[in-house]
């Protein structure tokens, strides 16, 4: 089927365009990747790097087969298995036949199309958004997509990175492009200094609690301000990762020395002359003074406390010293709010401190990196896991797992009664056996507290690795600042 549509070349090719316009970081990267603008339609956006996993890709590969076409640029496509993989005994055959079939399909599809595949047991295997940065697939100024909403993680490097659906995965596989209307622009500034015990996760949950889960819908967010500037790359990844939880298409941060230092000499990072050339481009990646945003917010980092969620979406979070808001004090429908609290078994006006918990999960693309395990270990060091708590410690990748061992964290964790599992998405979405049972409470460092997200009937409290550690050793919701002795 062929249909023609009038199109005009992008204005961006006109050099005057650049002189006149003050551009945001987002504009600079987006505009550079526009192949064509469709009149009264979306932009044809070129995608530099495409990451693929087992769950959202099989139907896309099937689509290629039905159209009898191949992957256009296999060298720009990277596949890893993460969503439904077990976190114990990965060397054994997978028990669940449906999961096994899906992994098998990815392996076959990757082989058939010449795509590099980091499957189960591969030394580079891990969560797609953890391994991307680890091996330099993630670069500043790049466009990166994946059939996963937390693709926004890669924005920490100054990339435009966003999640797509399976039809779009098929588009990118077949043409390396995607049709997208250019989103609106939002800047979120966080200035000041974070208190001890307050982490990037708390910053993100704080912002989402202020903006709600739909506050940034239709926008691409740039994070700026002293707090972001002072954050490590791992921390920036956590903040960008959670952009989707306020509805944003993605989030990004201007690259700086920290960014360049992080990516230098990684496997898929350019080298030599290519590095120098890339640096010329990357160093221009910042928002011009006076560039316009559709929306802008300012927050004071000093005001942020360790955060915890009490409801069934990531916007239902609060500082640990606060009480659960009353229905009349929140924006939105009271019946939906009440339904959410009923599901959690909580009441308006209650404190979260001292609430019983059953499970603790540290891991996921949000908080499954080495820094998160360092935070967790700092709190549990010299303490014991509460007997009734089941703790799942799941590194984001084999590289993280290795660092946990090499830095001596594993010995401390063992001494405190914790075991480390093998990498994967695990209990974040509970596609594998890591399911929180009906009615049980889990303090989780992951990204979503939706009903049943961690298993049918499970109840999730989202928090930082420090908050998770405090819960794991006390068996209750505990302000991690009361346990800080470092």
């Amino acid at each position: 089927m062929i249909f023609l549509k009038l199109s005009k070349p992008a204005d961006y090719k006109n050099p005057y365009f650049y002189i006149i316009m003050k551009k945001t970081l987002f504009d600079k990267v987006w505009d550079k990747h526009v192949v064509q603008q469709i009149v009264e339609g979306p932009d044809v956006l070129f995608i530099d790097r495409h990451m693929v996993h087992e769950v959202t890709s099989p139907v896309a590969f099937l689509g290629l087969k039905n159209r009898n076409i191949n992957v256009m640029y296999p060298e720009r496509t990277f596949a890893t298995a993460d969503h439904n993989t077990p976190t114990l005994n990965q060397h054994l055959p997978i028990k669940d036949p449906l999961s096994a079939k899906q992994l098998d399909a990815l392996e076959k599809n990757a082989a058939e199309h010449g795509i590099s595949y980091w499957g189960l047991g591969h030394e580079k295997n891990g969560i797609v958004h953890v391994v991307g940065p680890e091996y330099g697939i993630t670069l500043p100024g790049a466009t990166i997509v994946c059939g996963d909403s937390h693709t926004s993680t890669h924005g920490a490097f100054g990339a435009i990175a966003f999640g797509i659906g399976t039809s779009e995965v098929e588009m990118v596989l077949s043409t390396q492009c995607i049709l997208q209307p250019k989103p609106k622009k939002m800047r979120i500034n966080i200035n000041g200094t974070l208190q001890k015990g307050v982490t990037p996760k708390d910053v993100a949950l704080f912002i989402i609690s202020k903006l709600t889960t739909s506050g940034a819908t239709g926008h691409f967010v740039e994070y700026a301000g002293e707090v972001i500037k002072n954050m490590t790359m791992e921390g920036r990844m956590t903040v960008c990762n959670l952009s989707i939880e306020m509805g944003a298409r993605g989030g990004m941060i201007a690259p700086d020395k920290k960014t360049f230092h992080y990516i230098k000499n990684r496997e898929f990072t350019p080298r030599g002359a290519a590095w120098d050339k890339a640096m010329d481009y990357w160093q221009e990646l910042y928002t011009d003074e006076g560039a316009d945003f559709d929306k802008e917010f300012f927050f004071d980092g000093n005001e942020i406390e360790p955060m915890i969620t009490f409801g069934t979406n990531p916007g239902m979070g609060m500082g640990i010293s606060k009480n659960i808001p009353t229905a009349d004090s929140i924006e939105g429908g009271a019946s939906t709010y009440q339904k959410s609290l009923n599901y959690m078994g909580y009441k308006e006006g209650e404190s979260m401190i001292g609430k019983d918990i059953d499970f603790v999960f540290i891991g996921s693309c949000t908080n499954g990196r080495i820094e998160d395990f360092r935070d967790f270990t700092k709190i549990v060091k010299g303490r014991k896991k509460a007997d009734h708590v089941t703790a799942w410690l799941v590194p984001g990748s084999h590289k993280v797992e290795k660092a946990i061992k090499e830095e001596g964290l594993l010995d401390i964790l063992h001494a405190s009664g914790f075991e480390l599992r093998e990498p994967g998405c695990s209990a974040c979405l509970a596609m594998n056996d890591d399911k929180v049972p009906q009615g049980k409470y889990a303090v989780s460092t992951s990204n979503r507290n939706f009903e049943g997200r961690q298993g049918p009937g499970s109840r999730t409290l989202l928090a930082s690795p420090m908050m998770a550690a405090a819960a794991a050793v006390t068996g209750k919701v505990t302000d991690p600042r009361t346990l800080i002795n470092f």
């Binding site: 099937l62 999961s99 399909a105 039809s167 429908g333 939706f450």
Partner: protein, 198 residues
């Protein structure tokens, strides 16, 4: 994948007046293990629709035979969360061709448009009105007119316009998808790629 053309849809509607319905509710992750796009409708709203022993939950709207139709009417921020296109597939496979809400999450909206489910965004006031009309008479029908970009409550004749990108509108009315378009400009893409280092 090509889908049925969308023109004018006249149907009764199923109301779901809950805000922030996320894609984990529309289809829980444990039902995403298929390698083909088959049978997702069975698990649409799985955990709201069925008990643990797979018996239907009586009070959920999809289990109430009073309500039926090809239009799902949701509340604010419908389709938030995960990018899983399976959510849109489940809605389509169940038999819905249109979702009406006062606000949609971005990725879900895109996914719907890509597979032939029309997301129709209307004002909060008109949405309330539709919920009230369905509440009064569950057999009330709505007319979703894509060519004229208008939703009408047939009984009262009251209507409201809705926005859709002209390109996407053309796709929906013809049953085209984006890949058809992109494959058509493959040469331009190749030229562009040459100037864009990996």
């Amino acid at each position: 994948m090509a889908y049925d053309k969308f023109d004018i849809l006249n149907s009764s509607a199923v109301p779901l007046p809950i805000e922030n319905v996320d894609t984990d509710q529309i289809i829980p992750a444990r039902f995403l293990k298929a390698t083909e796009r088959i049978g997702f409708g069975e698990n649409l709203f799985r955990d709201w629709r069925y008990n643990n022993d797979n018996t239907p939950k009586e009070d959920f709207v999809l289990n109430n035979s009073t309500y039926s139709g090809k239009i799902l009417v949701g509340a604010k921020n419908f389709g938030s969360g995960s990018s899983r296109e399976h959510a849109a597939w489940a809605i389509y496979d169940y038999g819905f061709r249109c979702v009406i809400s006062s606000f949609f999450a971005d990725i879900f909206r895109n996914n719907c448009l890509n597979i032939g489910v029309l997301p129709v965004q209307i004002s909060p006031g008109f949405l309330e009105h539709i919920f009230a009309i369905i509440d009064e008479d569950p057999r009330s029908t709505l007319t979703v007119d894509l060519p004229n970009q208008k939703v009408t409550i047939d009984k009262t004749g009251s209507s409201e316009g809705f926005e859709i990108n002209p390109y996407k509108k053309e796709n929906m009315t013809n049953g085209f998808d984006d890949i058809d378009y992109l494959l058509n400009i493959k040469k331009d893409i190749k030229d562009f790629a040459q100037d864009t280092p990996l």
